[in-house]
């Protein structure tokens, strides 16, 4: 078995391995994720758009793929790299092997490389552009192709992943073992701005009693307000938040008009709307084991994370913003609250999927905020 697939990084580093999934040639930012489970959720998370994802856990595909563990309508990664892809998954929910799943969704996979070496390289040199290919193996050709790829900084790639037309979301979280849905009484009308939203956020909103309508990222504040929402949700999404100016403007216009809850890119957009600034992390946070301290309660949450950009803590110093959550690994900002505007957001993923459920209470915080508004409006 000779190598039949390669990964070329922008600094010239080459990894040769074996192709799995679809054959093809794609550019993207090369990043790593340290979750040991949840690869299907990762593959279908729109936040990974234009990223070539390496799993640090070497054995991937062990439980196959199924129709339930998806986080969006399709797969978004540009490429998927593992140490060993499992050809014989074993799980009662398995429907398709990982390789077939990638092939069916036209995602290029690469296995059999020293993924730890790649991860260490990214850790020390930073996330970088790369090209994964199982069709063209000539490094010089790939180099040229890679040179043309602009990378993520300064580009709005939200527009590539957002939906075109708004629609209501009705599905709630369901119990994996019994299939039973956990449904709350519909009490709140929520507009969710889709920057690349993960379905589990929508499911959790429904389970918390939200009547959810999901709208395209470019929807204006006026259009949002025309729906008379009890709350607005700013979703996660891929890439650099700074160039997504329309969303920042919309958010600015919505501040104070309705309670706002943001996650990940939504958190960055809220922060930018409140006058903050963002910057790119060296290699980002991607995994399901990041400790985040809730500064209000002192409790530590083990969180699911996926972000390459981050809100600059100092940029919010003189703003009317409370810092609510902090990352204990690197002391970066993980959550803010603007009490005056009834807006709050977190950098990490309380919807989990994949990852721990420690932060699920934030959805409750959102409904409480809406309760407060509703009570205020009634009196």
């Amino acid at each position: 078995m000779g190598a039949d697939a390669v990964l070329l990084l922008e600094d010239g580093t080459v990894f040769e391995g074996l192709s799995f999934g679809a054959r093809g040639c794609r550019c993207g930012e090369v990043v790593f994720n340290t979750s040991m489970t949840g690869y299907q959720e990762i593959l279908t998370d729109p936040s990974y758009h234009e990223q070539i994802v390496t799993m640090t856990y070497p054995l991937i595909g062990n439980y196959g793929t199924n129709l339930g563990d998806v986080e969006s309508r399709r797969l978004f990664v540009s490429g998927f790299i593992v140490k060993e892809n499992c050809a014989y998954p074993s799980n009662w929910r398995d429907e398709l092997t990982l390789s077939d799943y990638l092939a069916a969704n036209n995602i290029v996979g690469l296995e059999g490389i020293d993924t730890r070496k790649l991860v260490k390289h990214i850790r020390t040199e930073g996330a970088m552009r790369g090209i994964i290919s199982s069709t063209e193996l000539d490094i010089d050709v790939l180099k040229k192709q890679l040179e043309e790829y602009p990378g993520l900084v300064g580009r709005d790639i939200v527009q590539d992943v957002t939906i075109e037309q708004s629609y209501p979301w009705t599905e709630a979280v369901s119990d994996v073992l019994t299939g039973k849905e956990v449904r709350g009484e519909k009490k709140y009308k929520v507009i969710a701005l889709d920057f690349g939203i993960k379905l589990n956020i929508l499911r959790l909103l429904v389970s918390h009693g939200c009547d959810v309508k999901i709208v395209p990222a470019q929807t204006s504040a006026a259009d949002v307000l025309a729906e008379k929402p009890d709350g607005v949700f700013l979703s996660n999404g891929p890439g650099d938040p700074a160039p997504v100016s329309y969303a920042i403007e919309t958010t600015k216009a919505l501040l104070g008009k309705a309670p706002i809850f943001g996650i990940c890119l939504g958190h960055q957009i809220l922060s930018l709307a409140l006058g903050g600034a963002t910057y790119k992390l060296k290699f980002g946070h991607r995994g399901a084991n990041h400790p985040v301290k809730n500064l209000e309660t002192g409790v530590i949450e083990i969180t699911s994370q996926n972000h390459g950009f981050c809100v600059d803590l100092d940029s919010l110093k003189d703003k009317d913003v409370r810092l609510t959550h902090i990352n204990l690994n690197d002391q970066t900002l993980e959550g803010i609250c603007c009490d005056a505007m009834d807006a709050f957001s977190v950098q990490y993923h309380p919807e989990a999927s994949p990852g721990p459920h420690d932060s699920g209470y934030l959805f409750k915080s959102f409904t409480k905020l809406m309760d407060k508004r509703l009570a205020g409006a009634a009196s």
Binding site: F32, T34, M36, T37, Y88, V176, N329
Partner: protein, 1069 residues
């Protein structure tokens, strides 16, 4: 929340002797606790009866009590020390049970001692199965249907709704002792009755069987702020129905989707909160139905466990250390992650490799018992292997076991086994099932069918199939010349050089060369808790076959220490103790220490113990790869028992600089001819002997020497296949066995010295000066394996003159063998004549015991000597004399092996040891018996039944017991002898003589102690049921006449005064 200020002095209870289900993992956890708590400025008081532990080293705690771990003795320690707190969660089930007893009896309240970590209420919620079950139901989790029985009547009602097969679990027993699966009413009744008798509170749980479901474990940590993290998930390769300690287990969980894993994680958080473990680690076990994912909670250990040790080694997250810090008030975010230094311990480790743990069994030592695996643990140790893939870690684990297997090959499987028989084998839960799975795959049995037969998850079977397929491909290569690509793939799959060499028909060295030429060499990756997300500062390494090597060897002067591998009978914690001391010693003299070992339970595989840790199998290939990477200045092979010694020659030949006593001298001591020549030259005496390769040769020697004879293979430890033969009749079977075990080496035939006194001497030599560490007199006569014999330091019955002569001979031998380091000599003394039985120029099993007895760290000194220092430089030129008596007693696993005889012989059967200390021999012996669980009576009825040659001494024993007010009962021959000597004794029938017989007496609780000696096959068989009944009914028993004499002395001392407690630090003053 910072450190609590209301805590000053903490009592830690250790786990006592190594037994099945409770091994050196608790030395690891206890040693970590002592270390970190003292660093934090607390005063630490430790009690543990096991001298072979690092934690009982005098510098580990402020006060170290090597005393029996009974509530009465611990109360005395509490009264003397007045600790304000007790940390009960680090000493295994023994520590926990003792703490519960002290809390319930009001002792803790009386002395104002708080329980740290877990309070009484939460311990009981976790441990009492009916309460646990109720709590699980309250928090919405499912448990198997079950009921609690305190009698057979209750049990019968329960099985009505539980159904068959039914699981029986006695409450509060170790390692699932007494656990069983009953498939019918008859089995059920047997198991219920046994279980009720084993449970200290006479309670058993009867449970719905989930045999065949998948088994998982989660290691959970909680701090005082209610932060909870999962340290590690473990998936058992073996399905439910096999005790997790006996299962091959893999970390992390492999076949759970994130959704299912999070359900388990959520459940674990709920459980630890509901049970109320305030701080520290817990282990929670789950069963999952492979067909629909249905999840049952099986059990929870509200303490540090064997799995915690495994999880710590598998992830690099030191559970016991962190549990200790949490217990004194810290929260997880206040504690640093040792490995990254920059991030906090409040996170969930993520790993980028696969870990396989494989249990080590010693069924060959207990031929009478069924080797089938059940829910009661039977393994005596374990090996762990790390690889980048499951296939690699699996194959590394196999060769880590040191059972002379290096692959999944079928050479141990009967070639004539039909497919049907093979399939039948797959249904039975035996320790070597994996080899049958591989064989079935070789015969093209489908994965589905194998799964149906053995319920091992298809994911594992498919991985094994990959291995088997590649093996087949390699075997099919023409001319057996592997190309580089296939060779690389084989190495990536974890194939050993040794096996590849074997199937391609070359030598292992040639295979190694071939690999080197193709540029295929092991690289080392770091265990870093975080999947490379952060930089690791701790060199905790494992090998794999990939691109990048992270070993970064230093340029310091460095010495590699080879560890002992998995625990087994004959080679256990004592050797790990020595290896750890070697690491400490090197550190003290500024030499870098590099530890190589594969036993996850040990202190040696704590990344804190040495400068660099290689978690690797102890084979020539794996050690050589490390040598080539590290280029050490020296290697210590003499401390880890037989495992590294076996490699010494090959390593020496390959140019590895072995320091200390040379492999040649070690070989000389094992080589009968060369050794005889040395003994002759030194004008010393040995029992007459010969060596033989065949039965006929043995017979000729037997005729020359006369019976009795001691027959044994060479190059084995723990008296494997060693037997005393009294006549030609029993010679044949014994010789066949010895020849098989001995392999290409000859078997040794010695004239056996009947009724001699055996002595063990440990000494240290720098090549010029020899210093005696200690002389131990065995309580049992020569012929009982030294590891199984109780012994006293100093000797109790040997004259000063003989002792002086023994010292002189020891020194001669040390110089004659050019020993540089440790040496152990076994002598027999008969009628004041001294015979040399055996010389081992290496660390012996008794080194920790002697070191504790005399207060001198012999292993540490020896390691320094091996690096070139002299004893004079080290200030140890005179034997240390102490005025107290130390008695070592062995502890046996017989209770775990129904059907096994408890009689002692030349083959070692004990798993662990305890030590009793006192200024009086009798009390020291009494304490050793207490620690070993033999509660000597001070009144009541003693049964005496002895062989003819012991009758005279039995009379003396009986007389003294009579004087103390004991009633004597005896079997016919003994009874007549006693009455003839005017000792009142009641006659009792033997088993074969009718009823009610002696076993009825024992079962009915009419006997308080038994002295039973026997000789000859028939009498041994006849008296078997006496010993077994004694064991099963917890009646103290002695099987040697000298043991009986010591017991009588102990009872005499106990009648005069109660045993007190005293820390070892005071004994050395």
């Amino acid at each position: 929340m910072p450190k609590r200020t209301d805590i000053k002095k903490i009592l830690i209870i250790g786990s006592g002797p190594i037994v099945i289900g409770q091994a050196c993992e608790f030395d690891y956890s206890g040693a970590q606790a002592c270390k970190v708590l003292r660093q934090e400025g607390f005063e630490v008081v430790l009690v543990n009866s096991n001298p072979a532990t690092i934690m009982t080293d005098p510098e580990m705690a402020d006060r170290t009590y090597i005393e029996p771990i009974t509530p009465e003795m611990v109360e005395k320690i509490i009264a003397a020390e007045r600790p304000d707190s007790l940390l009960p969660t680090l000493g295994g089930q023994t520590g926990l049970n003792t703490a519960v007893a002290l809390a319930e009896s009001g002792v803790l309240d009386k002395y104002g001692v708080r329980l740290l970590g877990a309070n009484l209420e939460s311990i009981k919620r976790a441990e009492e199965r009916d309460r646990f079950k109720k709590i699980m139901e309250e928090i919405g989790l499912e448990v198997p249907r079950s009921g609690l029985a305190h009698s057979w009547e209750e049990a019968r009602e329960i099985v009505e709704y539980v159904g068959f097969p039914a699981i029986i679990r006695p409450s509060y027993t170790l390692g699932g002792m007494g656990g069983n699966v009953a498939y019918n009413m008859e089995e059920y009744q047997n198991y219920i009755n046994w279980g009720l008798s084993l449970s200290p509170i006479n309670q058993v749980l009867v449970e719905e069987s989930v045999v065949g479901w998948k088994e998982y474990e989660l290691e959970v940590m909680r701090d005082g702020m209610d932060n909870v993290v999962i340290v590690c998930s473990i998936e058992n390769l073996d399905p439910m129905g096999i005790h997790t300690g006996d299962s091959i287990t893999v970390a992390p969980a492999q076949t759970l989707t994130d959704k299912e894993y999070q359900i388990m994680r959520d459940a674990s958080l709920k459980i630890i909160r509901a049970i109320g473990v305030e701080t520290g680690g817990s282990n929670i076990q789950f069963a999952v139905n492979p067909a629909n994912g249905r999840l049952y909670v099986i059990e929870m250990n509200p303490r540090v466990s064997r799995s915690s040790a495994l999880a710590s080694k598998a992830t690099g997250f030191p559970i016991a250390k962190i549990a200790s810090l949490l217990a004194v008030g810290y929260t997880l975010d206040e504690i640093d992650n040792d490995i990254t230094k920059k991030t906090p311990a409040c996170f969930e480790p993520t790993i980028d490799y696969c870990v396989t743990k494989w249990p080590r069994f010693t069924f060959e030592k207990f031929p009478g018992t069924s080797p089938e695996l059940t829910i009661q643990m039977k393994s005596v140790g374990e090996a762990m292997a790390i690889g980048r893939t499951f296939k690699e870690s699996l194959q590394k684990a196999i060769r880590s076991l040191e059972i002379d297997r290096y692959s999944l090959d079928g050479r141990h499987i009967d070639a004539g086994l039909t497919d049907e028989e093979l399939k039948e084998r797959l249904r039975i839960n035996c320790w070597d099932k994996i080899w049958y799975v591989a064989e079935a795959l070789r015969r093209d049995v489908s994965v589905d069918e194998i799964f149906d037969l053995c319920a091992i998850d298809p994911w594992f079977i498919n991985n094994i199939k990959d291995i088997v397929r590649l093996e087949t491909k390699i075997k099919a290569v023409k001319g057996h010349k592997l190309d580089a690509e296939m060779l690389r793939q084989a190495k990536e799959y974890g194939f050993s050089d040794r096996y590849l060499a074997q199937i391609t028909g070359v030598s292992e060295l040639d295979m190694r060369k071939q690999r080197a030429q193709s540029g295929i060499r092991a690289v080392y990756k770091t265990v870093d808790t975080c999947g490379a997300e952060f930089e690791a500062s701790t060199p905790y390494l494992y090998s794999t076959f990939e691109d990048e090597c992270e070993s970064n060897p230093t340029k310091r002067r460095k010495v590699v220490i080879l560890g002992g591998g998995p625990n087994r009978i004959g080679q256990g914690i004592e050797f790990d103790y020595c290896c750890v001391h070697a690491a400490f010693a090197l550190d003290e003299i500024g030499i870098e220490s590099i530890m190589v070992n594969c036993n996850p339970e040990t202190v040696s595989t704590d990344y804190d113990t040495s400068d660099r840790l290689y978690f690797e199998p102890l084979t020539f290939e794996d050690v050589m790869s490390i040598v080539e990477t590290e280029k050490p200045d020296g290697m210590i092979v003499q401390f880890g028992g037989q495992t590294p010694l076996k490699l010494a020659d090959a390593l020496h030949t390959a140019g590895v600089p072995i320091i200390g006593t040379s492999p040649d001298s070690i070989g000389l001591a094992e080589d009968r001819k060369r050794f005889n020549a040395l003994v002759d030259k030194l004008k010393l005496r040995q029992p007459r002997s010969g060596t033989a390769m065949t039965y006929d040769e043995t017979l000729r020697i037997a005729e020359k020497l006369g019976y009795p004879l001691l027959i044994r293979p060479s190059f084995v430890l723990g008296g494997r296949a060693m037997e005393i033969v009294y006549d030609e009749e029993s010679l044949a079977g014994c010789v066949a066995n010895a020849i098989e075990v001995s392999g290409e080496h000859p078997i040794l035939v010695d004239k056996f010295l009947d009724d001699a006194t055996e002595l063990d001497v440990d000494a240290i030599s720098d090549g010029k000066v020899v210093v005696i560490g200690g002389i131990m007199e065995h309580i049992e006569e020569a012929g009982v394996h030294s590891g199984d014999s109780a012994c006293s330091l100093p000797p109790i019955s040997i004259s000063e003159k003989v002792l002086e002569e023994i010292k002189r001979q020891t020194k001669l031998l040390a110089l004659g063998l050019k020993v540089k380091g440790l040496m152990n000599v076994q002598f027999a003394v008969k009628d004041d004549e001294i015979y040399i039985l055996e010389v081992n120029p290496r660390a012996s099993r008794t080194i920790p015991f002697v070191s504790k007895a005399i207060g001198v760290p012999l292993a540490k000194l020896a390691a320094k000597v091996m690096t070139g220092m002299t004893l004079e430089e080290l200030g140890f030129t005179e034997e240390a004399h102490r005025s107290h008596f130390c008695v070592k007693e062995a502890v046996f696993p017989f209770i775990k092996f129904p059907g096994t005889d408890t009689i002692l012989g030349p083959e070692m059967l004990s798993t662990g040891e305890v030590m009793g200390i006192s200024d009086d021999f009798g009390l020291a012996f009494a304490k050793s018996q207490m620690s070993a669980g033999n509660n000597l009576p001070t009144e009541g009825t003693v049964l005496i039944s002895v062989r003819d040659q012991d009758k005279a001494r039995a009379v003396e024993i009986a007389r003294r017991l009579c004087d103390k007010g004991f009633k004597i009962v005896a079997t016919k021959g003994t009874c007549i002898e006693l009455i003839n000597n005017n000792i009142p004794s009641e006659f009792v029938l033997k088993m074969t003589e009718g009823r009610p017989n002696i076993v009825d007496w024992i079962i009915n609780g009419r006997i308080d102690m038994i002295i039973n000696t026997t000789v000859g096959k028939q009498s041994i068989m006849d008296s078997f049921s006496i010993r077994r009944a004694a064991l099963d009914n917890r009646v103290p028993y002695v099987t040697t006449i000298r043991g009986g004499q010591a017991v009588v002395k102990a009872i005499g001392s106990l009648a005069q005064r109660q045993p007190g407690v005293k820390p070892i630090q005071l004994y050395y003053q």
